[in-house]
């Protein structure tokens, strides 16, 4: 009788093998007139955002001019869009926001009280007192 392989579907895990960054699109919205957009306008004018975009070439940036408070919209690959208001922020603070949110995965923020999250079976298995020969079992 031939040996049959057990069929197992592989689990999609971003980062095992190839890693595809989650944030793929950032829309920057600013107002040409309002005072709350001053920082963003400065960041755009001085080329700071250009420089950052050059460093993160895996993200598509779009800049739109629209009246209202300035907003950064981060599009993640799990179909979530996160809006961050950058009203009245300085250029450096806006760049910090840009840097920080573009490194997220778009998942919900969680507090994880353990060190390692694993989907693999335990290498050693679970200890059981019944899977020992009778002579070796623990007796009370």
């Amino acid at each position: 009788m031939p040996v049959k392989a057990i069929a197992r579907t592989s689990i999609a895990r971003n980062g095992v093998g190839a890693f595809v960054p989650s944030c793929h699109r950032v829309s920057i919205q600013y107002c040409n007139w309002g005072g709350s957009s001053t920082g963003l306008r400065q960041a755009l004018k001085t080329g700071k955002i250009d420089k950052f975009a050059g460093e993160t070439q895996y993200i598509f940036y779009e800049v739109t001019k629209k009246p209202g408070h300035p907003i950064l919209k981060f599009h993640y690959s799990n179909d979530t869009v996160q809006e961050v208001s950058v009203a009245n922020l300085k250029a450096e603070e806006i760049l910090d926001k840009l840097d920080h949110y573009s490194q997220r995965s778009g998942n919900k923020l969680i507090k994880f009280n353990h060190k390692v999250m694993s989907v693999n079976d335990s290498v050693r298995g679970i200890w059981s007192p019944l899977h020992l020969p009778k002579t070796h079992r623990h007796k009370i």
Binding site: G15, L109, V116, M117, V123
Partner: protein, 176 residues
Amino acid sequence: MFNSLKTRGVQLSVQALRSRSLATAPASISSSIPTPTPTPTATASSTASSIPKPDLRPLKLNSNGSRDLYAIFKLHNMPYMVTRGDKVYLPFRLKGARVGDSLLLNYVTTLGSPEYTCKIDEGIPTDLYKLKASVVEITREPYYEVYRKKQRCRRLKTFPVEPYQTVLMINELKLT
């Protein structure tokens, strides 16, 4: 910038997602891969080289082609037990690391298969195994507030807390 990652046990190996302008200076990166002289990781490997090399053949035969293998690596002296494909949640922002970076973890104290374990507290010699992780995410924990009450003051002090979190994905764990 590339040498800013000086934590013991971690070595920045590949700059996968850095831009071309930054990656045009890979001489420092590529040179840092085989000869990590200035980093404290080198001291880890030198201490490891002073101890006799263990014989990992039983581990290799028992580990089902590195599939049934676990490792305990240390980062800031904190042990993390991992297998391939595990996510490591670090409760801080790893200095100098960015999303997409690949880390070579070179301070492993324990390697184990279902039946055998190799444990050296000073670190197993780095040429016996390969443990790689990629930085998958740098986020924060959910926002919460901490209240503190001082004596003879009727008001509560409010402290916003939003700690950083670095998520590593174990890319590769094998015996060489």
